[in-house]
Subunit: 388 residues, 2 copies
């Protein structure tokens, strides 16, 4: 539970097997190995909502995500550093990836202003004024002690004008250069070690040419991993998959690829098929709090009155004890009553479902039967429109 | 986890030791033994808020309390009966005590009307109209499958006019008779077994003579246990203890005595000293949700900025893992951020504290040193004004 990194261990990615575009691998960090394809539970403000850290670990998560924007405002990056770093603060000794804060500050709308320098914004908590730039974002991520850090970028909502998408993509490339220089300076100054890594973020909306230009420029920077950002922002599943299919071939095969903020089980399966290695999304926990259960028989809306007298377990096939122990009738009652335990149970069940889904994908790839597994699994679990 | 009672087992109370007025005992029920003095966590709507049932059990609780008023409205007593009873519904196989609904309907104010027959009221959930009477209250408690049931009573706020207190006390006595007849009719019809028990409730405000009259009339009904109701409703600790001291001697020594809705650790210690055997209160969980921690070093307001950079454990002396594992700084952050995990940790820590406090009292009585223990413990834990 110490925040110190093991000296000498370097960040590395090992591809263990490929099957067409689909990849099985391992990211090695001083805090542990991340089995890929990997899904990262989101711990926005230093907690995966409604879960004890032990539940996240026991679900099989090798890494989780923390949010620079939220943590810089409360409790503050300097304070977390003073207290020994984010791992120690939140009792999570495995790897942590932090986003750059870019996505959140963009969504602040009228209370933020973008310039070449960065983004000036007001806190959603108290209206206080702050600035995020590539340099400050990397400084914060180092103060938090993140094992994988993300470049500062501009992520815009879709649909958008092509020239607006291009402007944001090009700004993000300039910010990638500055993020890289800032990270290297941190390394030289001891603020980051050889086991920590900075990833670049491909932008460009759903425009294949912009995506390719973004990817090529980032690849030229020789970063240890690349994310695809700016998707799952309103373009829909088909457009997202099409964009991924056009973007991923421009990224090097020997580095991890991270699809940011995605997604539904279907999104994950189809993205892994195309060669994505890492994901994060609030869906398991947010949908859980809203009463949705991901089960091996399909997604369930536990508010639905049809569950009110159903004493069968939430999901007998789940590896989560709560899914086998608690009845649909009881969870329906808890959710209808707005009880903590309803959110606790469903967040747990869904977090385990997502980890089990990734484990099943890794097994299928290892056994050379990803396509068959995907067809079988989609037939089982895609029984309803995806939960919101 | 079956709702069926073990046939042939009868409800019984065994006094194991007394030390002055202070008592150590056991209540025997078909679902298990309740070690007294006992504190019952409150599971208002079939869940002890923010806790998994396993956490409540592992904290050492032998019994918990459910609320007739809340459960009759949602999910409904007939529905719970159809699904196999409250124990099965909420996954709690130890004893459950249910209140009669009287206390809650009285607090509805303008949307309830009291007559000799009972209380007509509107649901706080949807405004629907309902009636609670002694007969309906007992019917509901039998449908829920409660091991210990409470008579329907009228509980008034203090201060109040003596004749108003007297009127409510006398109405409660007539309702006690009707509750008893209704419970006996349920027994004859198979709705309750010999392992289930109905307790009477002494009323009478802080008036010694009214309390004595109430107690004597209830004792004449020969019920298997007696509660003291209508306290902790605004009269203050001193008046409550004084009233208890005047009331308890009027109750038989060979039956359990339950002080309803109480209280702070100080309340519990002083009431056990006077001979109370059972308690219930929302304080451990409600105060937990509001950011208060009960610790062996005194109560802490975790919102207080003095905890913001304190990485020491919440309570190293606690038997709750969360109290030893999580730092004050982290819990402060969670509570300030309104995170589920803050409420989860503090509700757990406080529930364990209350159970450990009762266990310590039982040990002290068994070892014949309750007074010494009480003096030492009060010096340790009563360091601040009680949390609200």
């Amino acid at each position: 539970m110490e925040n110190r990194l093991v000296q000498g261990e370097r960040f590395a990615f090992h591809l263990k097997k490929t099957d067409g575009a689909t990849r099985l691998g391992e990211i090695v960090t001083p805090r542990g190995v991340i089995r890929t394809p990997a899904f990262m539970p989101v711990g926005t403000v230093a907690t995966v909502k409604a879960l004890y850290p032990e539940q996240v670990r026991d679900a099989g998560a090798d890494i989780l995500l923390g949010n620079t924007y939220h943590l810089m405002l409360r409790p503050g990056a300097e304070r977390i550093a003073k207290l020994g770093g984010l791992h120690k603060f939140m009792r999570w000794d495995k790897p942590i990836l932090t986003d750059s804060g870019g996505f959140q500050v963009m969504s602040l709308g009228k209370i933020r202003k973008i310039t070449e320098e960065g983004v000036a914004f007001q806190s959603h908590l108290d209206g206080s004024r702050h600035m995020l730039s590539p340099e400050r974002s990397i400084e914060i991520q180092c103060l938090l002690g993140a094992d994988i850090q993300m470049q500062f970028d501009e992520c815009i909502e879709l649909p958008a004008e092509r020239r607006e998408i291009e402007r944001a993509m090009e700004l993000s490339l300039r910010w990638a250069e500055r993020s890289k220089r800032a990270f290297e300076a941190q390394r030289e100054a001891g603020g980051a070690g050889p086991g920590q890594a900075l990833f670049g973020i491909v932008q460009g909306g759903t425009d294949a040419e912009l995506r390719r230009r973004s990817a090529e420029a980032l690849v030229a920077m020789d970063l240890p991993g690349y994310a695809v950002g700016g998707l799952a922002v309103g373009e829909g599943h088909e457009a997202m998959i099409a964009t991924l299919a056009e973007t991923l071939p421009a990224l090097p095969g020997n580095k991890p690829r991270y699809l940011m903020g995605v997604g539904t089980p279907l999104d994950l399966i189809e993205s892994v098929r195309l060669g994505v290695d890492m994901f994060d999304c609030v869906m398991p926990t947010r949908n859980g709090r809203h009463g949705y259960a991901f089960t091996w028989g399909g997604a369930l809306n536990m508010r639905n009155a049809k569950h009110a007298e159903d004493m069968t377990p939430l999901d007998e096939l789940s590896s989560c004890p709560a899914a086998r122990d608690f009845s649909k009738a009881y969870v329906h009652h808890l959710i209808k009553s707005g009880e903590y335990l309803g959110a606790m149970i469903l967040s747990w069940v869904n977090t385990v479902f997502y980890q089990d889904l990734m484990a099943a994908m890794r097994d299928a790839i290892a056994n050379g039967r990803f396509d068959d597994w995907a067809a079988e699994t989609k037939a089982r679990i895609i029984t309803q429109p995806a939960a919101p």
